[in-house]
Every structure is written in structure tokens, then in C-alpha cells.
Symmetry: C2
Subunit: 251 residues, 2 copies
DNA sequence: CGACTTGTTGATGTACATCAAGGTACGTGG
DNA sequence: CCACGTACCTTGATGTACATCAACAAGTCG
């Protein structure tokens, strides 16, 4: 337990929530907003490398990411690791734990994170009294499912080169949606080892593949910052059409 | 379009829905049940090999599987296929399409299927007026996410032998939950090719691996029926603890 | 300063894919 | 009835994309 967690006293006011300012998020009704404010039980910071949720344990909390990056992962008994997805600002963590008692995966912080904490017990109330917010929860679950579908075909059927190209594009899209990307450039706190564990390849082979794409002039990755220099070429490599943004429909 | 679809006139009464009889499903309130009855717009049969939903198209329908097996899958441009998950009685199909306009994957019937059809437009009403049912929808989405997590680590980090052992156990659990399994024995309409595409290996290698597990006396797979003869040994191979059933909590 | 993390490269090994062929079962049309 | 095609399973031969092992350099941290 070298990882520290502490509760912050100063809170970001939901009215001024940095996530709400982003166009990707719809605006709440006053009523819903009042509920959210009250639903929120606090904030929590987790430093880089810290554990947010652990496989096998039931968490009394749900989280939304306010800032920082994290990742969901599972382990096999002998230590092999699969990274399931990355968590960025605006993501919702712990729904599975709330639905099934115990988490079936863990979540770790990639850099220092600020989380908004909600109480799991009130999820029922949320569904009963605030259907629009409940719909958002389901929308986020469906979006997660989409990403997992994409990862699954990537890990299962793409070559290493295609995998890396796909993941670079994916991370860029995610960063863009969170407002963290500037013309194909963004800060990304992951290591090559983590990239490898997300793609189901060894870190050595990941390194060679990344390097090959670098030398081909398609990407650059230095000092935790990514730059996609030729997105069309990367897209070409993955063998797929560009995806459009999907604003949440109103119910 | 060699595949046929037709709408049946005789309908299974929701009161007598075969799925409700199974213990895995909670009982609806009278009010919720009335809504479901009216939410349901009809039934549809799809014969083996038929397409239920197609990647890229927006479906006006949602489905629950009443009987039969299907599978969700994605394709790469050159035809490589990844099977994302299997659909069994009680499963809900098309939520992604309802949330995002277009489907990002396709669904195909493995054998003749009977589907319950719902209208996508009324999903909002469902959330507004029937929070318990909305919670069920989200619960199903969270369960799907769990399965995808399991598949992802399987495809990404397990060896072929571990993969096949895992999938045999998974299919058995699913069949059991649907009441289709008798002491480790169940009818399963998948081919070795489909098994391979679910696990991200070639059908040749899948064949050799299945055959090896057969000869070791752990499983048998003949004439579309599976028999897990030694579940403990299979579990041992995958390197994981048994999972408990997860009844949906009441909200 | 040593200990550790992260990236990098070369040498070697292997778990898988691919290619090719043949076998059985089944349906379909002549 | 047979001839033919097709779907699915099976096996052997060969190739390769990856993993593993090992070593080292640069940066960071206590």
C-alpha cells in the first residue's frame, strides 16, 4: 500500500463543474442539477499509480473523473495483465461494482487524478427520480461497450502495426472529446508497457512497432506527449472508416 | 439476401413469457408488466444464418431473445471477423443502436431464433415512467460489459488452450443461466470456425486445441452438443476462480 | 550513490498462421 | 438414383509474427 488517497475539503461547485462547460456534455435541468449536487458526496485525489477500485471488492462509491487519466485492467493468476480501457475526464467509474456487488476489474491512476465521488446507495433514487440522468448513465455504459467492441476486434484480429495505429487514433479521439487535444497533439501519461498490455502484445514488440511508425513519420511520442502527424495514413493502416462524434440524444 | 424474416401473428403473452418463468429474472410489478406488454410491438423469427442487425445501419427496433442463439460480430475491410459475444434467451439486442443512431456491429442468428420486438422511440418513455425497467436495461448493459472484459483478457493474454477452456466454461455458464444446460451438457449451435473467430485464433489451430482437450478427457463436442466433463480442470487451465451468479439487486 | 523505471536493441525460440489436401455429411438438381 | 457442390472437420508441411531472454543506456528518485 504505497499508494495514498486523501479527501479534499475544497469542492468544485457543480454549477462550475469543468465537465459541464465542455460541449460534449448536455446541460442538466435545474432539478437534475440540484440532485447531482446533493448526490455528490465529495471529491478525492489519487496520485499517479494509486488504486481507485480493486477487483473482487465491493466499493460503496461511484466516481466521475474530473481531471487526470486512469485505466481499467484485469490480471491473470500468473501476473499477465490486460488493460481494458482508459479513463479520461468525464468518464464514470464503478457502475459494474454497483450493479454486481464486487468489481470484476481494477482501476489505477496514470497521473494525479481528481475524482467526483457519489454514493452507490442512491443509484436507485437516481433512476426513480431523475430519468434523464439515468439515461446518461446508460448512455455511458453503451459507449463503454462500443469501445470494448473496438478493442476486442483490435486485440483479436489486427496485426501489431494495425493495433498501434488504432490505439494512437483512439487515444487521440478520446483526448479530443475531453478537450485535451490540440491539432493531433496531446499529453498522454501512458508508458509503452501499458500500451502493450492494452493491445495484447509484448512491450518489446510494442516498442519496435511504435518506433517503426515513428520512423515512417506517422506519429511522434516523446516525453509523454503524442503527436499524430498523419491521421489518414494511420486510419488507412487500421482498415476502417472515420467515426463520427455521437452526441447523446435527448429522451 | 438469401435470409428470410417474417413477422409472426400469434404472440407469446407477456404474462406467460418463458423468460419470466426462469429464476434468473426478477418479477415485474403489475404496472411495469402492463407497460412491457404495450411496449412490445410484435415478434419476429429469424432463421439460422439470418441477419438481425447490421453494422452501420440505424435500427428502429430493440429485441429480446426468446429462443435460439445468435452472435454479435465486427468485420475488418479484408474480411477478418471478430465475434464479440453470443446472444442467448433473455439477452437484449440493439441498445447501442438506440443510443447512437447506427449500430457499430452486426448480429447474426446461429440457429432459428424467436425475438420479441420493441420500438426504439419509446425508450425515453421507458426511462421516464418505469425506472425499475430502466434499471434492468442498465443492468444488462453492465453485464455485457463484464463479459467483454472477460473476453478481452482472454483474447489478449491467454494461450490458445486457455482460450478454448475459458470459452467452453463461458458458454456452459450462459447456457445454464438460460436453463439450457443439464449437468454440464448442452446443445450449442456454434461451429469451430465461429469459436475461432470469438477467440482470435485460426480455425485450424482452434481445431487442434479443441481436439487436444477432448483427448485429455476434459470436454466432448459432437453434433452440436457440448459436454464439460471436468470443469475443475478447465477452470484450472484458465487460471481463474469460479464466478458466482449475480442476481439483479432491487432498486 | 545505488536502485528503479522506462526505453531500446540483438539473438533465439515458439506458438501460432497459412497453405494444401482429403474426409464426411448433407442437400440439390438432373 | 447418381453427380455435384458446399459446409464443416481434420491433418501434415511450412512459414512467420510474434514472445522471451538478455543486456545496456538514460533519466529519476530517495
Amino acid at each position: 500500500m504505497s499508494k495514498k488517497e486523501k479527501v479534499r475539503t475544497r469542492q468544485v461547485d457543480c454549477d462550475a463543474c469543468p465537465l459541464r462547460a465542455r460541449e460534449a456534455f448536455r446541460s442538466f435541468s435545474d432539478d437534475d442539477l440540484d440532485f447531482i449536487k446533493e448526490f455528490k458526496t465529495g471529491e478525492q485525489t489519487v496520485e499517479a499509480g494509486g488504486l481507485i477500485l480493486s477487483e473482487g471488492v465491493a466499493s460503496p462509491h461511484l466516481f466521475t473523473v474530473l481531471s487526470g487519466w486512469g485505466f481499467r485492467y484485469k490480471l491473470l493468476e500468473d501476473g499477465r495483465r490486460q488493460i481494458l480501457n482508459f479513463a479520461l475526464p468525464g468518464d464514470f467509474l464503478g457502475v459494474q461494482g454497483a450493479m454486481f456487488d464486487a468489481m470484476d476489474h481494477s482501476v489505477e491512476a496514470l497521473d494525479d487524478m481528481l475524482l467526483c465521488v457519489f454514493s452507490r446507495e442512491r443509484l436507485g433514487e437516481l433512476f426513480r427520480e431523475h430519468p434523464e440522468v439515468a439515461f446518461d448513465v446508460t448512455w455511458l455504459a453503451a459507449r463503454e461497450e462500443r469501445i470494448l467492441d473496438d478493442f476486442l476486434i483490435t486485440v483479436g484480429r489486427r496485426t501489431a502495426r494495425e493495433k498501434v495505429a488504432f490505439m494512437m487514433l483512439h487515444l487521440c479521439e478520446r483526448a479530443e472529446a475531453a478537450g485535451l487535444c490540440d491539432d493531433g497533439k496531446f499529453a498522454c501519461p501512458i508508458t509503452q508497457n501499458q500500451m502493450a498490455d492494452a493491445l495484447g502484445i509484448s512491450h518489446v514488440h510494442a516498442n519496435r512497432t511504435i518506433r517503426s511508425l515513428s520512423q515512417a513519420g506517422l506519429i511522434s511520442w516523446k516525453d509523454k506527449t503524442f503527436h499524430l502527424k498523419d491521421r489518414d495514413a494511420l486510419l488507412e493502416i487500421t482498415g476502417e472508416e472515420p467515426e463520427e462524434a455521437h452526441p447523446r440524444p435527448l429522451i
